[in-house]
Assembly symmetry: C4
Homo-oligomer: 202 residues x 4
Amino acid sequence: MIDFTTARDQIVAVGRWLDGKGWAPATSGNYSVRLDDHSFAVTVSGRHKGRLTPDDVMRVDAAGGSLDGKRPSAETALHLALYHTFPEAGAVLHSHSPAAVGLSRAVAGDGYPLAGHEMLKALPGIATHEISVTLPIVANSQDMAVIHNAIAPRLLAPGAIPAYLIHSHGLYGWGRDMAEAERVIEAVEWMIAAELAERSFR
Amino acid sequence: MIDFTTARDQIVAVGRWLDGKGWAPATSGNYSVRLDDHSFAVTVSGRHKGRLTPDDVMRVDAAGGSLDGKRPSAETALHLALYHTFPEAGAVLHSHSPAAVGLSRAVAGDGYPLAGHEMLKALPGIATHEISVTLPIVANSQDMAVIHNAIAPRLLAPGAIPAYLIHSHGLYGWGRDMAEAERVIEAVEWMIAAELAERSFR
Amino acid sequence: MIDFTTARDQIVAVGRWLDGKGWAPATSGNYSVRLDDHSFAVTVSGRHKGRLTPDDVMRVDAAGGSLDGKRPSAETALHLALYHTFPEAGAVLHSHSPAAVGLSRAVAGDGYPLAGHEMLKALPGIATHEISVTLPIVANSQDMAVIHNAIAPRLLAPGAIPAYLIHSHGLYGWGRDMAEAERVIEAVEWMIAAELAERSFR
Amino acid sequence: MIDFTTARDQIVAVGRWLDGKGWAPATSGNYSVRLDDHSFAVTVSGRHKGRLTPDDVMRVDAAGGSLDGKRPSAETALHLALYHTFPEAGAVLHSHSPAAVGLSRAVAGDGYPLAGHEMLKALPGIATHEISVTLPIVANSQDMAVIHNAIAPRLLAPGAIPAYLIHSHGLYGWGRDMAEAERVIEAVEWMIAAELAERSFR
């Protein structure tokens, strides 16, 4: 766990990185880091994530209350629910790629299988490509508690990966620290892109 | 509303941003800002929008007359008609992505539905994803008045979004200020890209 | 027409620009400018076009003979044939996009229609989108003269555009100067990308 | 062959280049250079290849033993097996594009034909496009020796190209030096992208 200044710089940098990939359009996305004083650094509401300044990162307590008078992103509640559910989580990212959202709209059912990819080994706890995991897909809702309550049991099931997709919305991914959360997001997005290429080649 | 120098810098910057995304090829595109003296800052004709210099932005009056002897983009008339129709509009952008133009050529009819996308909330006045809006598509014409007269009633209809697509041509989007206009363009383009991915996954 | 130093800088810059778009992979591509002393600035053989230095641009005479001891790109003969055929041409570009080459391999016949695109107006001499032009496709050959002799009559036909596609190889485009040649290449590549998106949306 | 400092700088640079293309996600990939003292410069394990520092490159001996106490990438054994098989190889790259992996998953059989592409001439020893080569595809395995033993005979066959694809995993390519290895990777990835566009145009 880290202090606010370090977390703030990580959040500004990850916004630039995700925007560079086209995964943070139009002020969408929100990013957070668990701090060593049990508060959280989160993005404020309404800023373009590719152009964050240090002033666009704020601190909230575990209940989502602002600790510095700024207004957090609307989805901060989903971040905090993930930190509550996974005490080992140190950073949460929420990205928006056209491919991931297109996938969520195209497939029926509440999940998409990712099987046989070497890239699965980029996910924490997976040491072989000879495996099939499910990227869970949950219905979107205006109510963050509805989303979290629907997805939480699946995230806690054996073999669950630290990522899920909200239908027509975007991808959540998390890790022990920002580097691991980035690795999870990049690996899942990459596998979705590879699946899309696979379908186009068929 | 803002002064010319600020507007000029915004226009130079937005050209670089749109070109970086591949949405401003081959001198296409034109951008404008409503100024606080009731004139307008607009791009001059014929420059590559990714390489604009301050000298490539000019001022016109409400009738499109040059206020500084430079020659405006041919489509300035469409910008001015939008400012006349929407007194609250402060900036207008016109982008050209392969996906948006491909969409306009592929679909029959005069509009494309955007439904259920969380990204819809990036559009001004939309607070839920549980909605379907229509991206209007209007026939292209050499006569800007023909285009505007054909599209204006649809832009003023209840539930209209601040964007429309010209068939085989490109996307118009606008907002209170440049930041909002950018958000509209980026959100609509992103949803088109997501719809394209959705079709490829099906 | 311009001097060698200016042409050389234009060629170095256009290589970076084309490589940034993914249209100059693996040392492919070659670029040239007609100089005011009736010689030509051309890229030397075998360099990565995204990493050209001034030393990677050389001068040849109208017959392709080296004027400075360096070795020109193998396809210099095609450039010189275009300059001979079109006395008004001042710059020639040869790019390699996956989409253009994929198109050349996918379609039967010796050309591809580009119709109704506003982007057609980026091509010199075209003032309306209400037109259909043909992007000629010529068979590839190891012999540059075979390629040029096969394509030249079509380039001189009424309504021809200043660009053609070599099957499984890449795109040639030219203009009065480097800016116009860039505009031709970017407009044609963009229309091919839009056609590809159109097909994916259907 | 070159010294460690030069090789290290080449490896740091190639990581940035491949990551910029989206071919080095989530700490995947590994790169190596044969040194003039019969040792090898290789990437250490677990770093993001787009953000390598000089400290992330290490030296191993021909058996893969660490010469400086750092831990090499897991796939170093495949690099060393290639250097052993091809004494003229000076650099080995391993990239991960969505298109190449999608291709490996989409096609049946143990190879994919690349035929008629001008881009084939970017591969060492190929002087004409009038040729068809096979990009071999080998099953993935947790055991590097299994992969190498399965692919080695095919790499030594007449007409083999210096590249192969591991199913659901990624592309290996090599050359006399880093520049040639980069050319091989970029040319093969480009041809895969062109084949993908070709299929979408059909």
